[in-house]
Symmetry: C2
Subunit: 118 residues, 2 copies
């Protein structure tokens, strides 16, 4: 029953895999259904080789699959509730950013009513 490959390690790797703007956009596009690379390239501003590198990361992690169809390659989500994950993340993100805006507003008020900073 020993822990051989730590669970926290696996979770962290999963989140790290999501931690790139191009990879996020790809996953959101794939959430609407299987998509050829050509379309991903048209939708995301990125060099083809860079997109391929990011697709390779997603493939290696197992969250997407690739299938060749003639001369194009079509990517799809390997399964799972990716959309649900994104929704949960967006909810937390919204709260986090809202809190930050409030702090910024408070900071501006405090500066206006006290001595000038450096």
């Amino acid at each position: 029953m020993g822990v051989q490959v730590p669970l926290y390690q696996a979770k962290a790797e999963f989140f790290r895999m999501l931690g790139h703007p191009v990879r996020i956009r790809v996953l959101e596009l794939l959430a609407d259904g299987p998509t050829p690379v050509r379309e991903l390239l048209a939708a995301i501003e990125v060099e083809p080789s860079n997109l391929s590198q990011q697709l390779a990361v997603l493939r290696r992690s197992g969250i997407v699959t690739a299938a060749r169809d003639g001369s194009t390659v079509v990517y799809a989500l390997a399964g799972g509730d990716v959309a649900e994950l994104m929704r949960a993340a967006r909810r937390i993100l919204t709260e986090m950013l809202a809190g930050r805006e409030e702090l910024l507003a408070e900071l501006r008020e405090a500066e206006a009513s006290s001595a000038m900073p450096r």
Copy 2:
């Protein structure tokens, strides 16, 4: 009012912030309620200065707050349904890890213990 930092950038930063085993463990411990650093240190095998560095990352991102109470510092989730995010992630991980028995077993244990009162 809205800052024009691309949304995908913000999402990627959010996930990258989660992409570290120590930070994951901290968030899961905090999901059970506010916790002093001393307890985090006892539960996670890590050097104090390393834990502090990871706590600083979480603080900077805004997902946790720190409050001094005497000589100890107590951390808490800043809000948001972190537990729900973790649940969605676990569901996807389960599918991705299908076939890797050890990790699946650990995921099931984690599910069981999170459903139990302490």
